[in-house]
Assembly symmetry: C2
Homo-oligomer: 128 residues x 2
DNA sequence: CTTGACCTTCACACTGATGTCAGACTTTAC
DNA sequence: GTAAAGTCTGACATCAGTGTGAAGGTCAAG
């Protein structure tokens, strides 16, 4: 699919899709005319990237996470140096901290909202 | 406590503590000499703010979340307009998306790490 | 064949979170 | 009392993520 279609389907501006490619988060084919040709899977990939960026992960890290999703294909697992593993472990702790903090904030917002007269706006995500 | 102490205890640079104050996330007293005098509670508050910022929440939103933590004191609950409640509900969904996405990424990293020879680096946060 | 919609690359501007430095004042230590 | 360390304000720089627009190529509809 072309960039406009992917943009429409994900809500992510075409500008950003090019940026993601530039950062090595997407690697669309190119059709003869030079247009980017995205795969169906890129829809999910793009929304994931967008959410991760919104969550404060730098593209540098997102690239790593994406590559880790099929470690075999990218020839990982083998050469994972001690240093790199330590970096990862550090990032892992940071991730946990963020998740905890975001969860707490979400609960705060939800609790607040549920105490107002607009509690009806609470959609799903009810109980955790 | 003075800014240097708070900085040391939270790991947040003094520069950022001043920035937080500027953004209305902290409101330290001032002692006679003009120095900021932070309260003990600010230690937790600051680490929370730092984590939320790292999680991509703009200070504008963090201010709201903080105020929501004691809605009565800030005289909320009463005048929570429909429009504002809708904004909140939207942010709530965005929060859920981020939490889901971060959780998934954390699991990816952890699974990966646990398959390497450096699995020992995995500290707590084990099961969930 | 022309028009309009969509694509390409490139560049500049903006914003929010940070780092850093300068100049002035306060406090602490010797 | 003097020197060092800490604090104040304020300005400027940087970096990542985004928005926006220019100049030109591609393609489908009329």
């Amino acid at each position: 699919m072309k960039i406009g279609t992917l943009s429409a389907r994900t809500g992510v501006p075409a500008r950003m899709l090019r940026y993601y490619e530039d950062q090595g988060l997407l690697a669309p084919q190119r059709s003869g005319n030079g247009y980017r040709a995205f795969a169906e899977d890129d829809v999910d990939r793009v929304t994931m990237v967008r959410d991760l960026i919104r969550s404060g992960l730098p593209t540098r890290l997102i690239r790593i996470v994406l590559e880790m999703e099929n470690p075999v294909a990218s020839g990982w697992t083998e050469r994972c140096t001690r240093d790199f593993a330590e970096v990862l472990a550090g990032e892992l702790e940071a991730l946990d901290a963020r998740i905890a903090c975001l969860t707490r904030s979400r609960d705060t917002v939800r609790d607040y909202l549920s105490h107002t007269e607009h509690a009806a706006l609470l959609s799903g995500s009810a109980g955790r």
